[in-house]
Subunit: 350 residues, 2 copies
């Protein structure tokens, strides 16, 4: 993107940049030349480091909070750090934990995902967000209707991702048991394989006509039945550790907290954040993200696969001063773990 990023840095500059960012991520305090020169791995004097720091600042990798403060990484600095300075870290025991939880007897997709979100936020102290699979790619697999009594019934919808949902509705008085059976047959025949987002449309256009042929007085029933499909299909969001953000020292003033929480209350906005993620891991640092509410936060996203290629997204939201090393490796392993676990689980529904 920025061609300037490819400027050659000397070995020493690389070392210093890395040390500075590591230190700042660790302590949240601006890093000074003297403190840095005292570190084990640094054989240079404070004065030398000051010179290098001035150069790194001129190149845009570092910033000062005021004219005589220590240095703080700039967004460009973090970007360079993430792109070039992070050694692929060995995968930790953390992953084992998640793995164990996933394996440890689960029954619903929702539970796996919610638990993963919680574990993830607990391991990182950031806020985790998991987006369910894209509905665009999810198709209806099966419908069942189970009468509960004379005037109510439950419809069970199963998708090809193995997601099960139920909807209660009132049975129109004009319909009897054999009608329902006919109806279920028609619905299954016609709606199998139809993408969830198009079901309402298909139901109205194709099936209504068909049903009129087979069912007496279908027009009356229509009002009741459409409730099954009209039902909004919100994108499922699983959020963990919302209040972790309060532990971060950068969230020390009420305004920041307020804007963070008002954003987190708006599911649409969050869903938008995660919508356009591609395969693999993506790191967005501060204003690299257009969404205003997180302009001083970093967002790390990873995609996971679900069965036949539907994609979901796992993300972590934290201050730009984020433990990128840990988070990136954690997220990449978790997305693999989740894909694996969900694939196995998905197989069992075929």
């Amino acid at each position: 993107m920025l061609t300037g990023v490819n400027i050659m840095l000397t070995e020493r500059q690389l070392l210093l940049l890395q040390m500075i960012i590591d230190d700042f991520i660790d302590t949240a305090h601006p890093v000074g030349s003297r403190a840095l020169s005292k570190k084990e791995d640094i054989p240079y004097s404070a004065a030398t480091i000051r010179n290098e720091m001035a150069d790194l600042e001129e190149l845009g990798f570092l910033e000062k909070t005021h004219s005589s403060s220590g240095r703080v990484p700039s967004e460009k600095g973090y970007r360079y750090y993430v792109d070039h300075l992070i050694a692929p870290i060995s995968i930790r025991n953390d992953i084992k934990i998640i793995n164990d939880i996933i394996k440890d007897g689960f029954f619903e997709f929702e539970q796996i995902v919610q638990m993963s979100a919680e574990v993830l936020s607990e391991l990182t102290n950031y806020t985790s967000i998991i987006l369910g699979p894209e509905l665009n790619d999810t198709k209806l697999k099966q419908i069942q209707i189970v009468p509960l009594n004379d005037h109510t019934a439950v419809a069970i919808l199963v998708t090809d991702t193995g997601h099960v949902e139920h909807r209660s509705f009132t049975i129109p008085t004009v319909i009897n048991a054999s009608d329902i059976e006919k109806m279920v047959n028609i619905l299954n025949e016609r709606l199998q394989g139809v993408p969830i987002v198009r079901i309402e449309e298909v139901f109205q256009k194709e099936i209504t006509a068909l049903m009129k042929l087979y069912l007496r007085d279908f027009d009356t029933s229509y009002e009741y039945l459409k409730a099954i499909f009209l039902h909004e299909h919100p994108v499922k969001l699983y959020i963990g550790g919302k209040s972790n953000i309060l532990l971060q020292p950068e969230f020390n003033n009420v305004d920041k907290i307020r804007s963070f929480y008002t954003m987190m209350d708006n599911e649409n906005e969050i869903a938008n954040l995660l919508k356009n993620t591609k395969h693999g891991i993506e790191v967005t640092i501060g204003t690299e993200n257009e969404v205003d509410a997180i302009k001083d936060l970093s967002l790390i996203t990873a995609s996971y696969q679900l069965g036949k290629g539907q994609m979901g997204t796992i993300a972590l939201l934290g201050p730009t001063r984020m433990e990128y090393k840990k988070v990136i490796s954690l997220l990449s392993s978790l997305s693999n773990e989740m894909s694996d676990a969900l694939y196995k689980w998905y197989k069992s529904y075929e």
Copy 2:
């Protein structure tokens, strides 16, 4: 409770106390004698008011934030205000709104409740909490098992409150279709009317033995089937407007916000708050509530009825400086509205 509360106050003291509390609820600023004397309804001089204020403080109804500040209501003051000074306010248009939403075509209990919670918090700018009906009184009404394919099935549980739940589980290979039918019959026969909280126990003690008689190799199946009932039955909590609290001026420091949000993340603690509410409206002011995390908040609870007498709770959580007038009338009407709407809805499930 406190006998001291019954001390006779003069007309003037009552008037002043009311004006002071009203004013403070409105502005959140300590109320001074001079400002008060300028009000329309107050024909007394600042000096007189100061004398009365000193008396009211001595009686424990008012406090000072520091030695030369204006007066602020004490908890005892709020308590007196709520018990004696609130004129039953005319019910506003607010209620119509809720009413409309409830009537406006719904399908699930959850939706009514969640929407009510959101409306409630929006109307008040406080945090609303609605607790689902007490599980102790809720009984199982019906079980259905619907096979989805050779190795998975969905169990549908219906309670006498009309609540429907589904649970996916793996069908043991040793069981076939006719076994399932037998099973469902046994389950329905034995579990109907059993309180939700006792289902797991009854299933283990009574039904397991019975099923061994009728089903081959039931021991193997048991492991799979118990999943249906083992499933935790969390108390359902519906929370609206969590971040409304940030709008209150008393939440101007990070620590308070932190302790509030960490409490709100703990559903058990919240459920405990609302557990022991009785019929009717209850107001708990500040430390009147034993729970430490809300010791400078007020909690107003109202119960609602669901069908055969199961009880749920609606609550509002806000600063002790709460608009008690508005909130109390709002809550009492809403609880009636909800009871009515749910009763009708419940009837349709009988």
